[in-house]
Symmetry: C2
Subunit: 332 residues, 2 copies
C-alpha cells in the first residue's frame, strides 16, 4: 500500500522482510520480485532519481525506444503496490545495524518533517547516483537540453550522436579522456572544461593530435530550440557549434546512509557485491548504479531480480516447511 | 535487414562483428546493444523458443504483467533490425573455430534446405533451453494449459499458485524435491511421476510426512476449460484435483553447436561465464538460460547488455582512433 505521513504509523511495529532504499529501476524490479515471493517489503523513494530524467529509453528490450523513464517508474510502482509492496515517499537519513534487524530512519515531508524508523531483516540499497551537470545561473537552460540532445551516458546514447558535431563537457583532466571513447561514435569533438580544471600540456597535445579543439572558458548558455542543441556560447563570447553533447562531470552517490555500517566493502563510492548482488554484509544488498558494474537500466533490473531471489532463498531456507495437514491427518 | 534464402548470399562474404545464435530475450537485447554500438551483427533464430510460450510475463519491469512473450520478441526483433542488425530464420548446425573468425553453418528452410556458412569475430550463444513437457498422445491437451495455469518456472509463477491445489509433475526422484520449494507458495501439493521413475522409500516417507500424496500412474489427460485446469485424470482412472501445476521434468539445452569447440568450460550443460558473460573462449559469450544462473527474462536481457558491451570494448580498443582531420589540417 501507499504510505504517507498520515498512515505510516500502522507499519512502525512491522518487521519487513526487506526495505528497499530507492524506487528507481532496480528498486522496483526488486520490489516486484519480493512481492511475488510473498515477502513483505517497503520501497522508500526520495523522488527525482536518474531514471526520471531519461526522456527516452533506447536499449531496454520490450519497450518502444521513445518510452520515457517516468512511464516505467509510474507503472512499476503501481505494479509493485498491487502485488503487495508498501511504498513511501521519503528520504533515508540513516541505517543502523541492530543485529537481527536493520533500523531505517526516514525523513518524511519537506516541511514539518517527521522522522519514523522502519525495521527489516534485509536492506536493498538501490538509491543510485545522480549526474553532475554544469552549473549555470539559469539551470532551466541546462534542463532544456539534458536528456534530449545533451547526454550523460555514452552507452545509452552514443549511437544517437553518430558523426554529429559534439561537445564533451568535462570537469577534470581524467574526465577529458572520455573523448577517446566518444570518438567511436563521432570524431567531431570539441572539449569544454567549463573553467573547472587546468589541462596538462600532455593532454593538450593529445587533443590537438586528434584534432579536438579545447575550450577552457566557462559556458554561458546552451543554444538551440525545442530541446535540439545548435551550439554553446562561452562567457568569453566564443560560439562552439554542436548539435549534441556528452556531459562527463562525475556523479553523486546516494550512499551516505550506509557509511556508518561496519563490514561493508567499498570500491571508491561503489559497493562490492557477489553474483547475487549481496554486499560483504549478509543482510545488505546493493543493486544498480550503487554497485560496481555498468550503469544501465537492464543491469539494475536484473540486479533487483538477483537480490530479491537471494533474500527469498535465505528466508525460505530458514522457515519451517508448510505441510498439508489434512492429508497427514487422513493418513494417520 | 531481414535475411532469407532469397537474399542471404549478399552476406556470405561479410565478416560480422558478432553472430548471435538465438533471437530470444537475451539475443535480442544483445543485438539492440551491438547495433547501437554501430557493430555489424546477425541474429539467427530457429523459432519456437521458450519465451514464445510465455502467455504473460509477470516480473519484467516496465511492461504490463499480461504482456505475452511473443509481443516482446516481435517488437524487439523489429527494433534490432531498424537499428541495423541482420536477422535470419534458421537453425545453427555447427560452429567451427577458424582462429581469427568463427564459421557458423546454418540450415535454412525446412524443405529444400540450404546450408550457408556465415562468419564473425565473436559469437553470442543465446539459444537457451526448452522445458520437457509430459508426453501425451494428444499434445494439444498439454498445450491448452502449459503457460497458462500449468507452469514450468516457480520463480516466475509461484505467486499465482498461492495456496491453490497444485500438482507437481516430476520425471525423476531428484525433480520431486521441487515439492519442498513449491510449498513456500502452497502446501496443497500432489506429486505425479507420470510413470517415469520409481520413488525410493525415503522420498515416499518424506512426502507422506508433509502430507503430499504421490501418484505414480501415467497421466491420461488434463481437465478444465479455457486454459484453466481443474484436475488431472490418470490412466488408472484416478482423478487428481488441482487448479494449477508445476512441470519439473528438466529441459533440453540448445548447445549442440558448441560441443566441438575446444576450450569451453562447462558445468553440466551450462556454460561457465565471467561477469561480462564471456566464456573461457575469448571470442564466445553465453547468455540467458545457457549460462549458469537464474533463468529469468531480466537476467537474459542484462546478459545481452554485458556481452555486447564487452565485445564493443574489445573491438573499440583494437581499432584506430577516429581523428577530426579538418581540424588537424587547420592547425598545421
Amino acid at each position: 500500500m501507499k504510505l504517507s505521513s498520515k498512515n505510516l504509523s500502522i507499519r512502525l511495529e512491522t518487521i519487513y522482510d526487506a526495505i528497499i532504499v530507492g524506487g528507481g529501476m532496480g528498486g522496483l524490479s526488486a520490489a516486484i520480485y519480493l512481492a511475488r515471493y510473498g515477502l513483505k517489503c517497503l520501497i522508500i523513494e526520495k523522488g527525482k532519481g536518474r531514471s526520471l530524467w531519461m526522456q527516452d529509453l533506447r536499449n531496454y528490450l520490450g519497450l518502444p525506444p521513445d518510452t520515457p523513464g517516468r512511464d516505467i517508474l509510474k507503472n512499476g510502482t503501481q505494479q509493485a503496490i498491487e502485488w503487495g509492496a508498501d511504498h513511501l515517499r521519503g528520504y533515508v537519513e540513516d541505517v543502523v545495524d541492530e543485529g537481527e534487524t536493520l533500523g531505517v530512519k526516514v525523513k518524511v515531508g519537506k516541511t514539518e518533517s517527521i522522522y519514523p524508523v522502519f525495521r527489516s531483516n534485509y536492506l536493498i540499497a538501490a538509491s543510485g547516483i545522480i549526474d553532475h551537470l554544469p552549473h549555470l545561473e539559469n539551470m532551466q537552460n541546462v534542463y532544456d537540453y539534458a536528456g534530449y540532445t545533451l547526454h550523460v551516458c555514452m552507452i545509452c546514447d552514443g549511437f544517437d550522436m553518430w558523426d554529429q558535431k559534439a561537445v564533451l563537457i568535462a570537469g577534470s583532466e581524467s574526465q577529458i579522456n572520455a573523448a577517446f571513447v566518444l570518438n567511436w561514435f563521432t570524431p567531431y569533438i570539441s572539449v569544454l572544461t567549463h573553467g573547472l580544471c587546468s589541462v596538462s600540456p600532455e593532454m593538450k597535445y593529445k587533443l590537438a593530435d586528434h584534432g579536438y579543439p579545447l575550450y577552457e572558458a566557462p559556458i554561458a548558455r546552451f543554444l538551440g530550440e525545442n530541446h535540439q542543441m545548435s551550439g554553446i556560447e562561452l562567457v568569453d563570447g566564443t560560439l562552439v557549434q554542436a548539435t549534441t553533447g556528452l556531459i562527463n562531470m562525475g556523479s553523486s552517490y546516494h550512499n551516505h546512509y550506509l557509511k556508518g555500517i561496519a563490514g561493508l566493502e567499498w570500491d571508491g563510492e561503489n559497493l562490492i557485491t557477489n553474483d547475487m548482488a549481496q554486499t560483504s554484509h549478509s543482510r545488505i544488498f546493493a543493486i544498480g548504479d550503487l554497485k560496481k558494474g555498468l550503469n544501465q537500466v537492464s543491469i539494475a533490473v536484473a540486479d533487483g531480480t538477483l537480490a530479491a531471489t537471494q533474500i527469498w532463498r535465505n528466508i525460505r531456507r530458514s522457515s519451517p516447511a508448510r505441510k498439508w495437514l489434512a492429508n497427514i491427518h487422513m493418513a494417520s
